[in-house]
Symmetry: D2
Subunit: 143 residues, 4 copies
């Protein structure tokens, strides 16, 4: 991960989503457990696709599988803090796309920053297929 990623602010992201934490998100040490950030990432990404790319998890011909992910943790947060997810597209390949998702605390300071790669496959054959149409346009708009 490039160092400058940890300096991103919410205004660097094309799409924002409020995230409500849950009691269970906190672990024994009283902070949101490292695992749950990936659940936030997943939710922000899919929400963008649903809202902006007309994606339907149940019926769309193309679905995205996560093939790699990483996260750097900068500042702990705890339930009941209200968070904001920032989303942008880093790279669009033929059938894969790289996302950057930042999780910001209630003072808009970066709590964690993640990168994730989706490979889009045909729902039936589960073979990779080229990103195109509405999906491609939406992803481009978020770079």
């Amino acid at each position: 991960m490039q160092n400058q990623m940890t300096n991103l602010s919410l205004s660097d992201f094309a799409y924002h989503l409020p995230i409500t934490t849950r009691w269970m998100d906190n672990d024994m040490y009283g902070h949101v457990n490292n695992v749950n950030y990936y659940s936030y990432f997943d939710t922000v990404i899919n929400q963008f696709l649903i809202e902006k790319a007309n994606f339907d998890p149940v019926t769309s011909e193309q679905i995205g599988f996560i093939v790699k992910s990483n996260c750097e943790y900068l500042r702990p947060v705890s339930y009941p803090e209200k968070l904001t997810g920032g989303f942008k597209v880093e790279r669009i390949g033929n059938s894969s796309v790289d996302y950057i998702v930042g999780i910001f605390n209630n003072e808009e300071r970066l709590s964690a920053i993640g990168q994730l790669r989706h490979v889009f496959v045909d729902r039936q054959s589960q073979k990779p297929m080229p990103i195109r149409g509405e999906l491609l346009a939406a992803l481009k708009s978020a770079m």
Copy 2:
């Protein structure tokens, strides 16, 4: 559970909380899994206590343990639907309290209704202790 509980509307509840669903909340059948409703219940209850009863999960002398819970599932919901939790107090005992929590879908129809019992204990001794002061006042206000 009394039958009339399944007829409750959002206006029957003393406290409301928006709940954002997560991608992972859906199970293989494409609906929010039955387990996750209890996570919503937990979150609504604690949020009420934090906002209205000055409860602090890290420092408050009294903490609440769930000793029983139940849920009736009426209408499936799915991520990315936005939900609302309705909360009210059903009964206040010496050290225990019964809550009713309704989970409403984005058309304000009841998706599931739960009952949960908290026993309040001293954080150090973990022995039950009487509900009093701000906590008692807040619980009474939500009956």
Copy 3:
């Protein structure tokens, strides 16, 4: 819930399943959170159906939806404790079935006891359909 349920021992259950706890199962108070027990229940029930009733979550014609559930919490447990789930069938109706699931700690003492109702529906129409064949035989064998 009948009082005598809280006296059940592992030998009262027709089917047993080891359950490994996870770090994240513990909440801020250092115990397995009340919500996670329902995830154990879900897993024990489906495991029974898969092993004993030839159920396949992806292809079986009939799938089970949970329509109600409850739990009584008796003794807290904490990760990394190893648990055992006990499963039995309490009642078989036309298209619904009631289960009892006990969660036992590593000394075989009951930590929590739950009751859950499955309604079996046709996967396509999602309408209730009678329990029959292998499924009925397996459920009967676990009463």
Copy 4:
């Protein structure tokens, strides 16, 4: 991540832990959701520390915070598949340590491979402190 990591076999890992999947681990696409692998990683790492380094999550003076993590997903798995976690230590610094965790399917083929960094801090001050004593010895034994 180095390419050769995706070629690791279970015998390359110093410590093994069986992992039982849960019904809820599967997402709408019928596979264990990408997020849950991080919960497996967390569990394998803490289990090693508890068993081999005499770590106690409730009382130990030093506790480990995850500061970065990544995962590469190679082969989907689904509940109710039984998995095995493989754990090894990649690098020991002054107060931080890098782990490699592999998740193997029921044919001992690698499903996903992760790297995580723990920084050990003093439980009270939450300041980094040098890794030493039993903890250091256990980590060294798993390189």
